[in-house]
């Protein structure tokens, strides 16, 4: 039987060892997940994703389009998605900003697609080749109106591969756009990893299953049936508030019901959507919650802190939204405080704080000079905090 990760396996250097660039791994994940439509517009530091798709998609009979801008790119992806095609686009901050209106449309029309945002320093043109995590809240709230969001964050090259696959599956399953956040470091680094680790993530409800059976054929009512063009039902698809017929409605009751259903299909499946990893469970006096590149610093800090006698727990989040409410609240009950290192001014720390503040103190550690937070920085801050809390 053919392996489902055939595109990845073509990258092997020697037997089972791989060395892949992050952006390339993302494109390979998309191909292995069945993405057959890509529309994009070049932008640093995400262009390699598009370049790989340009080369590889035609070879598998897919469609690659370089569009006139990022707005057209995501709109073309949504158009393809409405015909049942699995579509994806990739961009960085300025392009992600341009896509926001259409992301709202995809949420409203329940059109599955994947948007990869390889974050760079902003706002505006910022520093294009410099890593950042400044788009976290934009990924959550970038488009207007009350809406749900599924946002994943990649911390290494293996994540770029397997989270892209997870994003495609989630998009298909929940019939909505899914955003994958990476940063310049992860996008441009080359990293070795074993194909075996492309396998699984820890989930609150068990392990994530990457195989195609993940997309259940019969959907529960919580997720709307697809509006698929060309399938005899010739549907009407609209960004207006609509009822189950797909046609617009101004009925207040139906409007609320529809919007609540959009939210509920995500919130009710939080256990399925929240991918995470926790190190040193129950052994820490303090915890570090991190995602993306900062999660790597946090993992390294864990080892350093152990050597220095500070017991730390590390919660590495792969899913940022929907918020892993239960996971964070359980952690908050266990530790004296939570430190959140981020390459922004505390965007995710605010989310964690409002979930955890009844039980523990949440401390934000932001860095916005374009450099990573080092493991040493984290351990020093932890030591400072432990000292502070002991003397208090």
């Amino acid at each position: 039987m053919e392996l489902w990760y055939t595109h990845l396996m073509r990258e092997t250097i020697d037997q089972d060892s791989l060395l892949v660039q992050g952006n390339r791994a993302c494109a390979l994940g998309a191909l292995d997940a069945g993405v057959r439509f890509f529309a994009g517009y070049p932008i640093t530091p995400s262009s390699e994703i598009m370049e790989v798709m340009a080369r590889e998609l035609p070879a598998v009979g897919g469609v690659f389009m370089q569009m006139e801008d990022e707005i057209a790119s995501i709109c073309a992806c949504i158009g393809a998605s409405l015909t049942g095609e699995i579509s994806m686009t990739a961009t960085s901050g300025p392009g992600f900003s341009l896509m926001q209106e259409a992301i709202g449309y995809a949420i409203m029309a329940e059109a599955p697609t994947v948007i990869v945002n390889v974050m760079r320093m902003g706002p505006s043109t910022g520093r294009p080749t410099t890593p950042s995590q400044g788009d976290v809240m934009q990924a959550r709230w970038g488009t207007h109106g009350d809406h749900p969001a599924i946002v994943l964050a990649a911390s290494n090259v293996a994540d770029m591969y397997r989270l892209t696959i997870a994003a495609v599956r989630f998009a298909q399953r929940f019939r909505m756009p899914v955003i994958v956040l990476a940063d310049e470091i992860v996008g441009h680094m080359r990293e070795s990893f074993s194909p075996e680790i492309a396998g699984r993530y820890r989930l609150t409800s068990g392990d994530f299953d990457f195989t195609e059976t993940y997309i259940h054929p019969e959907m529960v009512r919580e997720v709307h049936p697809p509006h698929e063009l060309g399938t005899l039902i010739h549907p009407h698809v609209t960004g207006l508030i609509h009822d189950e017929t797909g046609f617009p409605t101004n009925d207040p009751k139906k409007s609320e019901q529809f919007l609540r259903e959009l939210h509920d299909k995500v919130v009710h499946h939080r256990g399925e959507l929240c991918l995470y990893d926790v190190k040193n469970v129950g052994k820490g006096r303090v915890a570090v919650v991190a995602y993306g590149s900062c999660a790597r610093s946090a993992r390294a800090a864990l080892k350093l802190a152990e050597q220095e006698g500070i017991p730390v727990e590390v919660l590495h989040l792969y899913t940022l939204f929907p918020l892993p409410v239960e996971i964070i609240q359980e952690l908050a009950r266990r530790v004296e405080f939570i430190l959140i290192p981020e390459l922004n001014l505390g965007q995710y720390a605010r989310e964690v704080r409002r979930l955890a503040e009844n039980w523990t103190t949440v401390v934000s550690m932001g860095r916005i000079d374009g450099n990573l937070i080092t493991p040493r920085d984290i351990v020093d801050r932890l030591a400072e905090l432990v000292g502070k809390y002991e003397s208090a």
Binding site: R36, C75, G79, L82, L229
Partner: protein, 291 residues
């Protein structure tokens, strides 16, 4: 992609009676939102009569619209219909057509939707020569939002956002489309409905990007502020101003000032259509992989 998939055509019962455009309409969605005297329904009907002539299959035809009065047409049409976002109908349509070249894809847009916010997508769609038929309903204003100036309001025209008269020139949208690479360009009016129907029909059968400008009237918003007032007067004005391309050929620019040149304005069969050339590229790649 499309290749190898079952293309199940809708089984239509054979009917003895000739069909009317109701065949393609969700009449249960009526009354429609358009004002009395509005020309958008007339243009939509011309499109639907063209569709009847061609026997377009509901399930193999996708009509994509943006935002605005004209784009609301898709809410009444019994095809696969996409009411997309402002200005982006052509970008959605590009995704649909590239993913499923076997679909007949029609874009309905307006002068604000297609020429202002969507102008960039329009020129690039023309350039790509993808087999999409775009009908741009030009009523010189933003009707839905209450009569603001559009790129087609014209010098000296009045609008809620041009209370002292608009001081910007308009596009010649057909020349724009031709220059950008559209391979079928035509213009009609909501007065000349038979001509418009024929132009749309030929546009749909043309294998490449077809652009049809349908000049029409908005008595409620544009007509309220600009002469002539009233729908009948506006239609008569269209009749008087319309001139065939043939007649226009012998006329000076001065004589043509204010006239609406109608008919087929440009047609080029020599440019490869995008889905076809993309399919040929896939074939080339497949062959070289086999070797």
């Amino acid at each position: 992609m499309a290749e190898g998939e079952s293309s199940v055509a809708e089984q239509e019962p054979s009917v003895a009676e000739p069909r009317t455009i109701d065949h393609y309409l969700h009449t249960d969605r009526f009354p429609h939102i358009w004002c009395p005297g509005c020309g958008l329904g007339t243009v939509t009907a011309a499109f639907l009569r063209a569709a009847l002539e061609l026997g377009l299959e509901k399930d193999r035809t996708v009509v994509v619209a943006g935002i605005g009065c004209s784009s609301r047409a898709v809410g009444y049409l019994d095809f696969g219909t996409v009411h997309s976002i402002h200005g982006r109908a052509l970008a959605f349509a590009t995704g649909i057509k590239m993913a499923h070249p076997e679909f007949t894809v029609i874009v309905l847009t307006g002068d604000g939707d297609g020429a202002a916010i969507g102008g960039n997508h329009l020129i690039h769609a023309c350039r790509r020569n993808l087999d999409i038929t775009t009908i741009l309903f030009n009523n010189n204003t933003y009707g839905m939002t209450g009569g603001q100036a559009s790129p087609q309001t014209g010098m000296g025209g009045y609008a809620t956002t041009a209370p002292f008269g608009f001081d910007e020139p308009s596009f010649d949208l057909c020349r724009l489309a031709e220059a950008a690479g559209a391979t079928y360009v035509a213009r009609g009016t909501s007065y000349g409905v038979r001509q418009l129907q024929k132009l749309i029909r030929d546009g749909i059968t043309h294998p490449g990007f077809s652009f049809i400008e349908a000049v029409t009237q908005c008595p409620t918003e544009y007509g309220k502020r600009n002469p002539p007032k009233g729908p009948v007067q506006m239609l008569e004005n269209l009749k008087e101003k319309a001139i065939s391309r043939k007649k226009a050929e012998g006329m000076t620019p001065e004589e043509l000032e204010g006239r609406i040149v109608t008919g087929l304005l440009h047609r080029d069969e020599s440019v490869p259509e995008l889905t076809a050339s993309y399919a040929r590229m896939l074939e080339r790649i497949r062959k070289s992989a086999d070797e």
